[in-house]
């Protein structure tokens, strides 16, 4: 899901860079002090899991875990993803420095949507174990699906590609990742609800 250098148009790169800077700034302001160690932990996990590939047909795809980052950090997922992507670009040559902003948005925006989805209508009653599991699974899938759609959108905006065939082609290759991320996120949030329920509260209550 890393877009390389030289693929996107200048307008998309500039727009992506500006929006990502704003998002990272908001993320840094809204990240609660108590979740900084967790942010470091998730950043390391995000940094490493992108190295794990799953062969699909003639290509290979990799895990992202942006859904997990989103559920636990909300806006704070943006700086976490930004640092991990920066290090991946510098150390492994994944993506690139010019496409960093767009890549942050492609992986960070779904994380924010996952946060909203996970905590939707949970203010009145505390979330139950089965709710957490299902919401986690949905968020795990949404993180990838939305990321794929955003990636296809920026490629389409840069011209030269038709939108729907691109979305379907990329989505098809990401089905295994979608399922693995759904299972992982569901397992993670279920475990957290039993062991560390404080981490599964909206950021305002953290």
């Amino acid at each position: 899901m890393h877009i390389s250098e030289g693929v996107l148009s200048l307008g998309v790169l500039a727009g992506g860079g500006a929006l990502a800077t704003v998002a990272v700034g908001i993320g840094l302001r809204r990240l609660p002090e108590s979740r900084i160690p967790l942010a470091g932990l998730l950043c390391a996990l995000f940094f490493v899991t992108s190295l794990i590939h799953i062969p699909v047909g003639i290509t290979a795809v990799h895990l992202v875990l942006n859904g997990v980052c989103g559920i636990m950090l909300g806006w704070g997922a943006f700086p976490v993803i930004a640092i991990a992507l920066l290090l991946q670009a510098l150390l492994f040559g994944f993506g690139g420095l010019t496409t960093l902003g767009v890549n942050i948005l492609v992986m960070g925006t779904p994380a924010l949507v996952c946060y909203t989805l996970f905590y939707a209508a949970t203010t009145a009653r505390p979330i139950t174990a089965s709710q957490a599991m299902w919401r986690g699974a949905i968020c795990g899938m949404c993180g990838i699906a939305l990321g794929v759609m955003l990636m296809a959108s920026v490629l389409w905006l840069s011209g030269g590609r038709s939108f729907l065939p691109l979305v379907w082609a990329v989505m098809l290759t990401h089905i295994p990742v979608l399922l693995i991320e759904a299972c992982l996120t569901a397992a993670l949030v279920s475990t957290l609800l039993r062991t560390q329920p404080a981490l599964l509260k909206p950021l305002e209550q953290a």
Binding site: G6, G40, C43, V48, T49, I58, T173, Q196
Partner: protein, 181 residues
Amino acid sequence: MRKLACFLFSIGALLGSTVGFAHGLRITVQLTPSGITGQSYYSDESPARYERVLVENKRGVMFAQSRTDDKGRFSVDLPGAGHYVIVAEGEEGHRAETEIDFLPVGKTSGTTLEAPAGSASGASTEPIAAMLRDELQPLREQIARLENRIRTADIIGGIGFITGLAGVAALWQARRTRQVS
């Protein structure tokens, strides 16, 4: 928090045990008498199969194009002497490029992208140059792969950097909280 850390790193370790490294696109190119031959592969060293390969100049004008085979290999005839940019385009916005200087047979300098192989001017030396190219090609590809390989030290370094950064952030927050109180 400790349980969570254990859980997250267990996931990482479990998945990491099957690590193949995804997902940057790489390209290596060597000269042939009539053009270029090369290979495109992903950073997990799996071949980039059936991907588009373009030959352009610095301004992006395309001269030729080809597709990689099931082993990620390709060969393209070049129109004449000049400086070329070879671009491999993968799916999902993956792209790799490299540059070469090409001189046709009779004028060839025998240079390659990875390492200049000295000069061999004149048509009479061409068979020797061709043989040398064939012999050296696997070695050059291996060197290029080693250069591009993701090293464990890079992974550990990255994790260390993140840990340090989180520590600095926590320290800064703690100081700010102390000052406020």
